[in-house]
């Protein structure tokens, strides 16, 4: 039995008076890939953004319940959100490199945390780019703009950039939905490698993707966690009729 990286108890989330998550209770295992699936608007992104407190940016958002990350209540008063976001990295749906050089993109988080020495930065940049499978493609143009990379490369750069903060948990919100099938394959392979070291929570629209890369799958519907279990089990023998309807494509 592995440990839980994240533990959610009775979580309710409202945008204004509109509920977006209803009584969600769920544990996320360390160093596994957990997929969040469900029709759009069911609250997958909202759920994901709880773990690094990105919902803080939305004024109307109210959240109750207990959210533990590595055993700590991240919504307790006095929590260092910056430290939380160092531990819990995020990759977004649309690649969003900064309009700076590849080097400066990756150096962003290390510099935030006070690393200034060139040698140290270069080591981090090589290591994370290598880890994200991008090193050989970009090593000769580290000081060129990241915006010159292809979409798939940009997304791998964003992964490397997140890894440079040395997180232990990686949140990915439909990271391949804006990419072509080849780039998608590359990133899926990368996720499979990364799970040896990182806890990965990934939102995906693509059910084949969930079956290919995830260990556990959570199915959301209208803000409710309908089903959660081993990916094999959820896709071959779901216990809830709504899950079955969704995975067999009857709605979505």
């Amino acid at each position: 039995m592995g440990k839980n990286a994240i533990s959610v108890k009775d979580c309710n989330l409202h945008y204004g008076s509109v509920p977006a998550l209803k009584n969600v209770t769920m544990d996320i295992r360390e160093r596994k890939v957990t997929a969040l699936i469900g029709p759009s608007g069911c609250g997958k992104s909202t759920f994901l953004r709880i773990f690094n407190r990105m919902n803080d940016l939305i004024e109307s958002c109210r959240i109750t319940g207990e959210i533990l990350v590595e055993g700590n209540d991240i919504y307790a008063s006095g929590v260092d959100v910056i430290q939380l976001r160092k531990t819990v990295g995020m990759v977004f749906q649309k690649p969003n490199p900064f309009p700076m050089s590849i080097y400066d993109n990756i150096a962003f988080a290390p510099r935030t945390f006070g690393i200034r020495k060139k040698a140290e930065l270069s080591e981090i940049i090589e290591r994370t780019l290598y880890r994200a499978g991008l090193w050989y493609e970009v090593k000769d143009r580290l000081h060129q703009s990241a915006l010159g990379l292809s979409g798939g490369q940009q997304q791998r750069l964003c992964i490397a950039r997140a890894l440079a903060a040395e997180p232990r948990i990686l949140l990915m919100d439909e990271p391949t939905s804006a990419l072509d099938p080849i780039s998608t394959g590359t990133i899926e392979a990368l996720i499979m490698e990364l799970k040896a070291e990182y806890t990965i929570v990934i939102v995906t629209h693509n059910m084949q993707q969930a079956t290919r890369i995830s260990d556990k799958t959570a199915f959301f519907l209208l803000g409710e966690l309908v089903e959660y279990g081993g990916t094999q089990k959820v896709f071959s023998n779901p216990f809830d009729g709504r899950t079955e309807s969704y995975i067999t494509g009857r709605f979505g």
């Binding site: 940016l57 976001r85 990295g89 977004f92 969003n96 900064f98 935030t112 703009s145 903060a165």
Partner: protein, 281 residues
């Protein structure tokens, strides 16, 4: 003629009319420029530009005056304007009453005729604070005058920075301050610089405010910011109304060249810094 033919004919007439008007516009614009250049260029000489104001007039005091007024106005308006815009875009709710109040205030301020700023500056700085006519009083008044412009266009540049970049930086553990200084401001830099340059253009071409605040002393080099002074635009007025038509035209040319330079600089900066900024939304 069939209906269809009439339609075609009407479209052709409109096109010819529009082309004619375009030609007229270009003619008038180029006419003014050519006329000013033709009347002014022959009279530009070293005495006028850099000589001492004595038997022959010189615009040396005005060059210094315009330069110091522009710098003064920008040095005051830029931090206040950029700070206000940052507050509005990064620290307030999008629909708050405060934002609406500030917006109405700044729109009202930008609609006020500049002579009204002039009388304000005169009453406050020259009279109440006892500056008398001074470059400082003029510069501060000009700064107040361009403030709404700076706030508004800076705000637009800040809003144009994709939200996704703000999220990316925060998600990497950046504080809000770091996000603003490393991501938001650099991304908005070209827009902000462009707006400051256009604001400088307004300062350089302004005359009404200055008549009432700096005193139009055309023949003395200002000794400090507390001295009275003059500007290029005021010199044009002074020369024109005191029997120096040639010098007025020549000063007009100098002013024209400065303004064209300013506008080219704005375009250039927009190109240099603008690259890639809006490539992702």
């Amino acid at each position: 003629m069939t209906r269809h033919q009439r339609q075609i004919r009407r479209a052709q007439l409109l096109r010819i009319f529009a082309q004619g008007m375009l030609f007229l516009t270009l003619l008038m614009l180029s006419g003014i420029v050519i006329f000013i250049l033709a009347s002014g260029l022959p009279h530009i000489n070293m005495q006028l530009l850099f000589g001492d104001y004595g038997k022959y007039p010189s615009i040396k005091p005005a060059l210094l005056g315009t330069l110091s007024l522009t710098l003064l106005a920008l040095v005051i308006a830029a931090p206040i304007g950029i700070g206000t815009a940052l507050f509005l875009t990064e620290y307030t709710r999008t629909r708050s009453h405060l934002i609406r109040a500030i917006r109405i205030a700044s729109e009202t301020l930008s609609g006020i005729p500049s002579i009204v700023y002039g009388i304000f500056g005169y009453l406050v700085f020259a009279v109440a604070l006892g500056f008398k006519y001074s470059l400082l009083g003029g510069g501060i008044t000009l700064a107040i005058m361009i403030l709404p412009l700076v706030v508004r266009s800076t705000e637009e540049s800040l809003l144009a920075v994709p939200q996704s970049l703000r999220e990316a930086s925060l998600a990497l553990g950046a504080s809000k301050v770091r996000m603003i200084f490393t991501i938001v401001l650099p991304c908005a830099m070209s827009g902000i610089l462009t707006s400051l340059i256009l604001a400088a253009g307004r300062v350089i071409s302004e005359s009404a405010v200055l008549i009432l605040t700096i005193g139009m002393v055309v023949n003395k080099m200002p000794e400090s910011l507390m001295s009275p002074g003059t500007s290029l635009a005021l010199d044009v007025y002074y020369f024109g109304s005191n029997g120096y038509p040639e010098q007025a035209a020549a000063t007009g040319v100098v002013l024209l060249i400065v303004m064209i330079g300013i506008n080219l600089l704005a375009v250039f900066l927009g190109k240099v810094f603008g690259k890639g900024e809006l490539m992702h939304g």
